[in-house]
Homo-oligomer: 330 residues x 2
């Protein structure tokens, strides 16, 4: 398994990527190519202990910032770590690409250079979120913010394939994110999506409200990329604010309450592990003719390592082949 | 102050409305008219102790269910509690209307019967959410799911007026909910909204990501009603799921952890109070020529009482007059 990594991607780059790569090499036995500032990356690597033949470094003289306009920077920065990594994925026998960099730029470079799978009109970012009972795949969370209903049908089909072949669901339930359960609810766009999904051969269970998603009501939830991105970021925002609030409150509390908090720590650690996004690693960019895994900008080394693991599973389970098969059968 | 209440609205109707009305009468000294199934409401009232001249009951032979199609049911069920209550508000000297019933039906009945304020093209539901540092008003959360950019500008102006005159902010900051901070981010719709808000005389601080909303980055956040509704429901969903997860984890934990949990209860109760949506009462439906306060379907008596309080403040502070003034000055 050969994975190429955008060494310059993410808020904690290149450190998180170098450390994540070393963890992946040791734990998974993969070969990794780090693309980025050669001097910096080599410097960080020299402090690490790992099988030297398993990690290669390829220099990229540019990096695309997290907030740079996607299409423009991909066009202009041909020697950026993202563009070069995608080129390596395409031409140099690498199996998958992992990046915690500018999401728009990764989507853009991936789509332009690798092209879409036959039968796919737009790629979608599929993120796996923990719910009360089981993980749920939400697609799209930001690749395609102004989609057509057909794109959401394709997301449903791709999510179905992924859910079957990677998550091991027999007959995944597919829901449509909406603000009410009845088929008459929502915008014209959502209603058209509802009709299209109902008419398909997917195991479509209808509209799903955000609250139900967290109760584990569906295996796959499809939505437009704008709404999906809001969904994801509200989740993060609420979780962050709640945890800050708890810390603040406990800091100002008396000895007894603090003692109580210390005693409950094991339970909260368990919950934290359950909800920890880094456990799920990265989000696959479904629909392109290649394997690209997108990580959160705030990823740490463990998240990068887990994203590399997700990339490996994507390859091992021939997800793209299954997606093509499913699309052809529809 | 005379408030009319939809006695049949909400999951816990009519009990929550009767109890909330009695609380409001006793605590606030308001007069309340309960509209709904006279027999049921009178029966519940008879068990209560309150100044009898302060609560009137008006019979409504119909009720609009929480999931019925809004426009159709308002047209057909002329003797429903919602339609009759709005009529009372319009013609019978009542100051405001409070309902925990079918939101779409309340918006529809309110708009059709009371009409819009001059200069307003669509009403918007303004909900106040707790953030880390201060309450934030999000508008719209579901009245208008397919708006034009002009509507969001009007929401900004109305939110500005409400924030100034009810929440006491001197120069409220207005943000636009988006999936990135830069003005180039988001759909064409959001970009048009950004231009329009930038060109206005509002204290517009640009795009706000969902995460920043919870950090208290803006006093007023505007968005389309579909996205706003998702925003609200994801918040509820995450909070619900997290609290269920904590309960489940603690139930399965050992004596020491349970003891710890008992000791931390005071801190968690404080946090719960801070986040308790029932404390903020209802959400004003801004933009109509009347005062309508919409409550969550799951409202309890306390939430109804607090919504009645919000209705009173809406009247006392002449919010609609200020909205008209602000709109005219733009």
């Amino acid at each position: 398994m050969r994975i190429v990594i955008d060494a310059m991607g993410g808020d904690k780059a290149p450190q998180c990527n170098v450390d994540g790569a070393v963890m992946a090499v040791k734990e998974l036995g993969y070969e990794v190519t780090l693309v980025g500032d050669e001097k910096a990356v080599t410097g960080l690597l020299s402090a690490q202990d790992y099988p030297k033949d398993k990690i290669k470094v390829v220099n990229a003289s540019q990096a695309i910032g997290m907030e740079e306009p996607a299409a423009l920077s991909v066009r202009r920065k041909r020697d950026s770590s993202i563009v070069k990594a995608v080129d390596l994925l395409k031409s140099d026998g690498h199996d998958a690409f992992v990046s915690a960099g500018n999401t728009g730029a990764v989507v853009c470079a991936g789509t332009l250079s690798l092209r879409l799978l036959e039968g796919v009109d737009r790629p979608g970012i599929a993120v796996i979120i923990p719910t009360l009972d089981k993980p749920c795949m939400v697609i799209d969370v930001g690749a395609n913010i102004d989609p057509k209903p057909l794109h959401l049908l394709q997301y449903g089909i791709m999510g179905d394939a992924y859910s079957k072949h990677i998550l091991g669901k027999k007959e995944p339930t597919i829901g449509l994110l909406n603000i009410g359960e009845e088929s008459t609810k929502g915008t014209d766009f959502v209603k058209e999506c509802h009709t299209m999904l109902s008419d398909s051969r997917l195991n479509f269970i209808g509209n799903i409200e955000p609250k139900q998603v967290y109760q584990g009501a569906a295996d796959v939830v499809v939505c437009d990329g704008f709404v999906g991105n809001v969904f994801l970021k509200v989740t993060e925002g609420v979780a962050d604010a709640a945890s800050q609030l708890v810390k603040r409150e406990l800091k100002n509390s008396n000895f007894i309450t603090k003692l109580g908090a210390a005693l409950t720590l094991p339970a909260f650690r368990k919950i934290k592990r359950k909800l920890d996004a880094t456990e799920y690693g990265g989000a696959p960019l479904l629909g392109i003719d290649g394997r690209v895994i997108i990580c959160h900008g705030s990823s740490n080394a463990k998240a990068i390592k887990n994203a590399i693991k997700v990339a490996g599973e994507y390859v091992d389970h021939h997800v793209n082949m299954h997606i093509i098969e499913e699309l052809q059968s529809f």
